[in-house]
Structure formats: structure tokens, C-alpha cells
């Protein structure tokens, strides 16, 4: 679609930037580890203090990898939604997928006070959370797909997604009214989002699901480009609309659903990253945009996480707050500067 135009230099530059952010993210935290030691422990070399090595391998490296999967996955799902719904403000949240996950978790945490015994023990474990939020996103995803097979108009699907969000919010507030304070706090903490709770085996599952979603997104590249013309033109170009829509929604569901399940609801990355990418790459071609969004999403998420770590301090700020604090002004800035957001 974009003949004779090479973005190789920009790609090399942001790849290097990603590497720098990755190292910087791992080296900073409550204990600052020098860059050289960080590097050598990553490649298996000797480190000044043995504790640094275990901090990096056991804690910081999984967190950095999680940040990369979360940033790239949310960015890609945002890009897919913006193209599919022909709406620059679309993102995984708008579809209601994240709301579905929140509802699942809310039902689990806030409802678990009514259950006792061994079920309650499982329910409040981390795996219970992952299961509940995956289930929630999948349920909403299936509902969205059922609706989209009956409703031709994508705007209607968008509005239905928003309505799901409202219903979720309402149920959550009813539940939290009756739930004990302890459970409520747990839900609130989940809502903060967290990148640091994953073990290596969690990451294995997480990355497998995310890679499956990414591959589906890659398969959809041509359909996505055709959809830039609108659905009627796309159909006239021989695009199988239902199949493409299905493919794109599945890809988004896998990405956004697994991310919300493992890292909590993370706002604004999905909407802001594709727009920032379009500022850097002056193209609408998804062959360029998808890899670019993967790189930039990872970089932004690593930066957000580095900020949340507050170098040298014990505390960790909620990641969801950081992404909102960075993401929301970016969206406002784009709107003010360009007057209208284009996709």
C-alpha cells in the first residue's frame, strides 16, 4: 500500500529505544542496580551482589516482560478496534471487553464473602482472579459477536459495548454497597492494575495467548487496510466482511482479555499508542502500523512502569493511575493540536 517508502531507520531507532527502556526498567526500582550489572545478569554473567541477580531474575525480568506484552497487546487491540469501528476513540475498553473482565472479578471478589469453605479459598486465589476475568471478557466477547452477526452497523456495536460498560459499573456499585470492606479493598487493588504479580509459569501462558492474538492480527492486515475505505467499499473489493470482523474481534478479545486477566484493567494505552504511532509513521498501512504499535506500546508501558516504581523508594504507584496520567493528556494534546483525530 505504501510503495517506495521505507521506515527502516525509524524502526531501528525505536528498537534501540525499546532495548534502552527495557534495561532502564530492570535496573531501576527500590534497589538501583547499575546498568552494567543488569546487563551481565541478563546474559548470565557475574554480578557484584548475588541478591541483585535474584531480584532481576525472580522479580524484575518477569515484570518487564509483562509490561512489554501488556503495552504491545493493548496497543494492537486498540489499533484493530479503531479501524474496525472506524472510530478514533475506540479501544478495548469501548468494546466492553475490559468491563466484562471487571465484572467477572467484581462478582468473584465481592461475592466470595457469601461463600465459605475450600471454594472460597480457591476463589480468592490469583488463579481465581485470572479465571474470573478471562471468563468475564469471553462472555462479553461472545455477546458482542452475537450482536455483530445480527447488526450490520458497527456504530451500534460500539454503543452496545459502552452500554455493557455502564451495566458493569452499576452491578459493581451494587455489589460494593453490600460487600465487606476487606473484599471491597481487594477489588479496588485489582482495579489499580499490576504488572508484578506474575510468576514465570504465568508468563508462559500469558505470552502464548498474547502471541496467538498478535498472529491473528497479522493475518488480518489486508482486511484492516481494506476496511479503511469503509464497509461497502471493502465488500466491493471482495472482502468477506463477516469473516474479517470475526477475525479482528477474536484477536482483540484474546489480547485485551488475557491482559486484563493477568494485569488488571490498564487504561488509555489501547487508545493512545495507535495515535502516537500515527504521529511518527505517516501512513495508514497496517503492515507498518502493527509492528510500530508493538514496539511503541512496549516502550510506553516500560516507561510507565519505571515511573510507577519510583526509583530508590519502597512504594509502587498503581500502574493504572500512571497510564491514565500519561495517556489522557496525550489524547487531549492530540485533539487540541490536530483539532480532529483521524485514524
Amino acid at each position: 500500500m505504501t510503495p517506495n517508502k521505507s521506515y527502516r531507520l525509524v524502526f531501528i531507532a525505536i528498537s534501540i529505544l525499546l532495548l534502552v527502556c527495557f534495561i532502564a526498567n530492570i535496573s531501576s526500582g527500590s534497589v538501583l542496580i547499575p546498568w552494567l550489572d543488569t546487563l551481565s545478569s541478563l546474559v548470565g554473567g557475574s554480578v557484584e551482589k548475588e541478591s541483585w541477580k535474584s531480584i532481576i531474575i525472580e522479580y524484575r525480568l518477569p515484570k518487564a516482560i509483562t509490561a512489554i506484552i501488556v503495552g504491545s497487546g493493548l496497543g494492537v487491540s486498540g489499533l484493530l478496534m479503531q479501524t474496525l469501528f472506524r472510530n478514533p476513540l475506540a479501544g478495548p475498553f469501548v468494546l466492553g471487553i475490559s468491563s466484562g473482565a471487571s465484572l467477572g472479578v467484581a462478582l468473584l471478589i465481592l461475592g466470595s464473602s457469601f461463600v465459605t469453605g475450600s471454594t472460597a479459598v480457591f476463589l480468592v486465589s490469583n488463579w481465581g482472579l485470572v479465571a474470573a476475568s478471562s471468563l468475564g471478557s469471553i462472555v462479553v466477547l461472545i455477546l458482542v459477536m452475537i450482536v455483530s452477526s445480527h447488526v450490520r452497523d458497527t456504530m451500534a456495536i460500539l454503543i452496545i459495548g459502552l452500554m455493557f460498560g455502564s451495566i458493569t459499573a452499576a452491578i459493581v456499585s451494587v455489589l460494593s454497597y453490600f460487600a465487606p470492606a476487606e473484599q471491597l479493598q481487594r477489588y479496588v487493588f485489582w482495579g489499580f492494575g499490576s504488572l508484578g504479580n506474575l510468576t514465570w509459569s504465568d508468563i508462559l501462558i500469558f505470552s502464548a495467548i498474547a502471541i496467538a492474538g498478535m498472529l491473528l492480527a497479522l493475518i488480518a492486515i489486508k482486511s484492516l487496510n481494506t476496511l479503511l475505505l469503509g464497509e461497502n467499499y471493502a465488500r466491493s473489493l471482495g472482502l468477506h466482511l463477516k469473516k474479517s470482523r470475526f477475525l479482528i474481534i477474536i484477536a482483540t478479545g484474546l489480547l485485551a482479555g488475557s491482559i486484563t486477566a493477568f494485569a488488571g484493567p490498564i487504561a488509555f494505552i489501547g487508545i493512545a499508542v495507535p495515535h502516537l504511532t500515527r504521529q511518527l509513521f505517516h501512513t495508514s498501512d497496517h503492515k507498518i502500523l502493527i509492528p510500530a504499535v508493538i514496539l511503541l506500546g512496549s516502550i510506553i508501558m516500560l516507561i510507565c512502569d519505571t515511573i510507577a516504581q519510583l526509583p530508590g523508594v519502597e512504594y509502587t504507584l498503581p500502574i493504572n493511575a500512571i497510564t491514565s496520567l500519561i495517556g489522557a493528556p496525550v489524547v487531549i494534546w492530540l485533539l487540541v493540536r490536530k483539532r480532529k483525530m483521524l485514524f
Binding site: I221, L229, S236, G238, K287, L342
Partner: protein, 264 residues
């Protein structure tokens, strides 16, 4: 050249168009028999709401006919897969394109989608077709611009270039001259005339510019409440097809000038 010696690109047999709501049939127009030849420019005229869009939608397989058959190059339209049809028929719609952020080059290149591989990689042949489509529609100076920077007339030319790049024997345009001033209306229709002649494509367009259409089209389809007339503009004037197009209380068709005059 005698058109009867040329290839028939699109043919309809006793076509009825309209809508089907459960057991309720709403026939918009019936017994449509058309023969559209290679390299012809055909104008479709009729009052608002008479069913021009329904006819175009039926011919482009967006909605099924109520009765009758449509043939593309002697093959029934029903038997075409949507990807096959994309190499037979390209369209220019009145609706806005979804992403105005596309550059003209990208937009025209999307016309090659039916022929490209799974990521849409353009071959040398594709690039050549794109270059030619841009050249023949005179939009070369616009290729770097984004669609939101274009005027309505320029955008229309670019959308026509995209349809040319799709390289189909048949092009259908839904009211390509709306929103344009009188100069650009004439410009676009002249462009279509030239394209039909130079590229040997069959071009069918709906329009409200009846006087321009009479001057430029090889054939015209006139849809009115009684039915439907098809022929050369001169023949249609003779059989008073344009006079019965609208109620005669306000405007009258003047056969000498081929245009409508307001009644005094």
C-alpha cells in the same frame, strides 16, 4: 463503430428489483431488460426515491433481485464469489470513505486489493496499473496529499482513479456529481466519457444532471413511475421519456435544448 458488434458486458433479463419483508413484496421496478456494451457511458436518471440506488445495489449484488437474472460477461451474477465479482465490477459510492487519513496514493493502491497476496503486497504490475489510473484521471499532482486535504471535486476524481486501478470491465458510480459546482459536474462527466472511450470500460452512473447526461451519454436509463426506458438520449427525447419524468406542474422538458424549463 456499430455497438452491436461489441461485447455485451452486462445484461439483465426480466429483472424485478425491490424489497422483500417476510411475505411482503415491495416491487420498485419490474421487467428491466438491459444490454450494456463495452466502452459505453450510461446515465441513470429518475426522480428522488424512484429506485435508482436500488437498481445499482441489485446490479452490484448488494441486494438480491426479486425476479429475473443478471449476467456479467454471460455468467450469472449469482454464481460469482465476492472476490471474483471484485475483478468484474468496481464502484464509486456517495458515502464518505472511512479513513480520511489515507494518502491519495494509498487510496488508489487499495483498488488493487482483489489481486494482491495476503498482506497486500503490490507487484510491479499492480504499481503500473496504479500509476496509469492516477495518470488517466489527472490526479498526479495530488498523490502525496491526504484525503482530508482534498476538495470534493478532487476527492471524486481520486475515487474514480481507485475504481480504474481495480481494472474491472464495469464501473458503477452512485451520483458522482453531487456536492460539486456546475463546472466540476461537467468536468467529472467529461472525465467518465473519456475513460469509457479510452479504457473501453462500461461506465454506469446515476445522476440528477439530466441535461449534461443527454449531451454526454451513449445510452440512458430513465426510471419513472410508469416503468423504465432505455436507449440513446435522442431516441428517449423522441419518445418523450424525459417529459414524463416529473410532474408537469412546475417544470417542462424542452426537446430542442434537451433541458428543463420552469413553467411561467
Amino acid at each position: 463503430m456499430n455497438p452491436e458488434n461489441q461485447n455485451i458486458v452486462l445484461r439483465t433479463e426480466d429483472l424485478s428489483i425491490g424489497y422483500r419483508h417476510k411475505n411482503n413484496l415491495k416491487v420498485v421496478s419490474a421487467d428491466i431488460n438491459l444490454k450494456l456494451y463495452e466502452g459505453e457511458l450510461i446515465g441513470l436518471v429518475g426522480a428522488n426515491g424512484i429506485g435508482k440506488s436500488t437498481l445499482l445495489r441489485t446490479l452490484s449484488k448488494v441486494q438480491p433481485p426479486l425476479r429475473g437474472t443478471i449476467y456479467f460477461n454471460d455468467k450469472e451474477i449469482k454464481t460469482f464469489a465476492s472476490s471474483e465479482l471484485a475483478s468484474q465490477l468496481s464502484i464509486v459510492l456517495t458515502e464518505q470513505i472511512a479513513s480520511k487519513n489515507l494518502t491519495v496514493q494509498e487510496l488508489v493502491a487499495l483498488g488493487r486489493q482483489p489481486y494482491t497476496n495476503w498482506v497486500g503486497k503490490l507487484t510491479e504490475e499492480d504499481k503500473e496499473k496504479i500509476r496509469k489510473a492516477i495518470e488517466v484521471t489527472h490526479v498526479t499532482e495530488l498523490v502525496k496529499k491526504r484525503c482530508y486535504e482534498l476538495s470534493d471535486g478532487q476527492l471524486q476524481k481520486v475515487l474514480i482513479a481507485r475504481a480504474i486501478a481495480q481494472d474491472t470491465p464495469f464501473i458503477m458510480l452512485d451520483e458522482p456529481t453531487t456536492h460539486l459546482d456546475v463546472y466540476h459536474k461537467a468536468y467529472i462527466l467529461k472525465l467518465l466519457k473519456r475513460l469509457a472511450f479510452e479504457t473501453k470500460k462500461t461506465i454506469l452512473f446515476s445522476t440528477h444532471e439530466i441535461d449534461f447526461a443527454i449531451q454526454l451519454c451513449d445510452k440512458m436509463i430513465v426510471m419513472n413511475t410508469e416503468g423504465f426506458e432505455f436507449g440513446r438520449p435522442k431516441e428517449l427525447i423522441q419518445c418523450r421519456a424525459f417529459s414524463s419524468l416529473f410532474p408537469e406542474d412546475l417544470i417542462l422538458f424542452d426537446p430542442k435544448t434537451g433541458s428543463y424549463k420552469v413553467r411561467n
